[in-house]
Amino acid sequence: MVQFLQVDSAQKAQENPEYKAALTELLFQLADDDFILAYRGSEWLGLAPHIEEDVAFSSMSQDMMGHAVMHYELLDELGLGKADDLAQLRKPEEFRNVILAERKNGSGEYNDAPKYDWAYAIARHFVYGSIKQVKLEALRESSYQKLSFVSRKMLTEHRYHMMHWQVWMKQLANSTDDAKQKLEAALEKVWVDAGELFSYGKQAATIVGFGIVASEESLREKWYASMQQKFTEIGLNWPGDLGIPAESGRDGQHTPDLANALQTLSEVYVLDPQASW
């Protein structure tokens, strides 16, 4: 194994501008992915199929929001600005999240005739979560010590999310034909976008070179192996290779869905960013 440098403080990271730039880029990706998908999850509040699921789903969205906050705080320590401002005051083109995270939950709006797709919610969170799992496992060995610590912590929580989504996958795949068809259609939709989750964007070479996280290929390989096995266990056909959407979220190209989400979620905050809560 190659011995990478160890960076054990924000100050040390800042001393090396190249390292800092690579680290910053990856942290924005991690933070924005969780933040935006947690927001989509929170839009299910009161709309999940039953009350128990409502509690579970909001609890998981809250955990994910917490994970995003940790990454924004790491950015704050690196001098990028206050965590709240990073989450709520940036423009859509400054966001680095994948397109999969920003897609709407279905047709309609939260407060205007929401017709959300539950199978899509399950498929999206399951696939997103399984890729997050391999990423967090790799981040445990990050050269940026603080990132490795928080990743370990997140894994302990994330484990429960995966248990939850896996139960849903199994149930939908093995109940009625209708449920199975809806799940397969949802997986197909998720598949078109999910490949982007393995991308570190334009700075991939530096990010990996500095040992901040393992390479895109190694993560992809690990995921394919474990996921194909899971699909067999669940009783689903393997949909094949993951696709990449037309827009590149990692480069700040987004669909109108993101602008829409950001406008709603920051509505209160932008009124008075100085207000204390």
């Binding site: 128990e52 509690v55 579970a56 789903f57 609890s59 998981m60 809250q62 955990d63 994910m64 929001m65 917490g66 994970h67 906050v69 940790m70 603080k146 610590f149 928080v150 370990r152 912590k153 997140m154 302990t156 929580e157 429960y160 248990m163 939850h164």
Partner: protein
């Protein structure tokens, strides 16, 4: 000697911290929950390092304030620094035996001190092992909802967190 009387000690801080309750489970203190990692005193400054149980826990800010407010009263303290740290990570085995007993009186079961592959939970009311998980996700990030088939009572359990 007046100087010694007002000198702040780590011991004194720990004593006071025993009185700071977990905002979501006020029968136990944060010390009993194993959430206080370190207390350091240097001159008139106290530094407290806290290990969060769950990172998205909305009570974290409240805990921070409660700790500051508690220590503020100490003579000779000018500055209090409370920060959350993630190394070592908080794990279920950090909960003290006293803490476990107190949570049980609330009807909340704590995970076994040692890691176990299966999560077997005995009912806090009748000790029956015939329980099942109703919802992994309960009223707070750290708790699940369970049901006792024997005495037909619902109860809660802290999710096992091990590294």
């Amino acid at each position: 000697m007046p100087y010694e009387m007002s000198a702040v000690t780590e011991e004194k801080c720990w004593e006071l911290l025993e009185e700071v309750k977990d905002p979501e489970m006020p029968v136990v203190s944060m010390v009993e929950m194993g959430m206080i990692h370190q207390v350091k005193v240097s001159d008139d400054m106290v530094t407290v390092e806290v290990l969060p149980t769950f990172v998205g826990c909305p009570a974290l800010d409240m805990m921070k304030n409660d700790i500051s407010n508690k220590l503020k009263g100490l003579a000779g303290v000018k500055e209090i620094n409370v920060s959350f740290v993630y190394q070592p990570p908080w794990t279920s085995d950090r909960i003290s035996n006293e803490g476990r007993e107190k949570l049980k009186t609330l009807g909340i079961v704590t995970p076994p001190p040692q890691q176990d592959d299966t999560w077997q939970v005995a009912c806090p009311y009748c000790d029956s092992p015939y329980t099942h998980v109703e919802n992994l996700f309960g009223p707070a990030a750290c708790r699940s909802i369970l049901y006792c088939r024997h005495c037909k009572n619902p109860f809660e359990a802290l999710k096992p967190i091990y590294e």
